[in-house]
Amino acid sequence: MSPHWTGLIVGLFFGLSLVLSGLADPDKIIGTLRLKDLHALRTIAVFVLTGMAGTWILTLFGAAHFSIKPAFMVSVLIGGGIMGIGFGLTGYCPGTGLACAATGRLDALVTILGMLAGALVFIFLYPGLAAPLQKVWALGKVTLPEATGIPYAAWVLGLGGAGSFLLWATRKKGN
């Protein structure tokens, strides 16, 4: 366990990066979801690919700390869709919502209040509803290399190639 202050440092840089990147701006998120302003899409693609490649490189030195989520497929699919509705409606997600509230967006502050209400309702629904749902089609804490038998390095290279193609294909539509 790392001491808590490392969390504070990582958080400081994460919040700073969300603002500097433009992801902490609902207009950029909505613009990308409407496929009219692809700055956020391209930024997120580089974010994901850099994280993926960097994590893979860390594993080569035995320095990566993983936290694989359990793949309960039905609950993930339903939860992702429900979260997507809120994400598309507001232009915020939990991280950018916190960041946007800190930059003076009052509607982001209201979104955070909604998130706290959602968290409480999740706690109340967990024993009877969420926990049973998380047992349906539950495949465990599995990675794609484990699930498919395709080596880790091949996944990183393949997804890196696919992401690079996405960046190339979207090169003219607002950066």
Binding site: T55, I68, G84, T90, T111, G114, F122, A130
Partner: protein, 182 residues
């Protein structure tokens, strides 16, 4: 019809993505991949701890130490807020506002409607994120960073839900001023 004026992102996409990616790699090196939404449940647990401690004791999820005792992730979220505030002040982006430009263009200037949508949207965001065991940080970005199987269904349903909703709520797509062009 006038165009839609949005703010230019401070950094171009490549620099922005590399900076965020560097934070993710640092997080993986230090402790674990980025994640934000769990702490909202931690906050809820702190409230219930005061209001109904025996309920928390008997609860299958929030009776766990991870939820009862704020730790690394809690401090990460506090750092996130402080870092965002500091960055916004440093580059003069701190500005009190009530709705995004896209909202006002499509749904009008009434603030009550936006605040209602913001509350309802936030509710769905957190409920959905915890059902999926992670949000755009923990399940999407960090899911792909670690090549979790769960990132695949999450990515599909998250963006399907978000794009359909955005299509319905923001149907009018005018010319945008303030895009980052390279």
């Amino acid at each position: 019809m006038s165009g839609l004026k949005v703010r230019r992102a401070p950094l171009p996409w490549l620099a922005a993505g590399l900076l965020l990616g560097a934070v993710q790699v640092a997080a993986v090196a230090v402790h674990k991949p980025l994640g934000v939404s769990t702490q909202f449940v931690v906050a809820g647990t702190q409230v219930l701890e005061k209001a109904a401690p025996t309920y928390v004791d008997r609860h299958p999820l929030v009776s766990k130490k991870k939820y009862r005792e704020p730790g690394y992730g809690w401090w990460l979220d506090i750092g996130l807020v402080l870092g965002a505030l500091g960055a916004a002040l440093a580059i003069r982006r701190f500005k009190v506002s009530k709705a995004p430009a896209w909202w006002e263009f499509n749904q009008g200037r009434g603030r009550g409607k936006r605040f209602l949508a913001a509350f309802g949207g936030g509710f769905l965001i957190l409920l959905g994120a915890r059902m999926a065991h992670g949000c755009t940080s923990g399940q999407f970005v960090s899911g792909w960073a670690q090549l979790s199987l769960s990132a695949v269904p999450f990515t599909l349903s998250l963006f399907a839900g978000a794009m359909i909703t955005a299509f319905l709520v923001y149907p009018r797509t005018p010319a945008i001023e303030g895009r980052n062009e390279s």
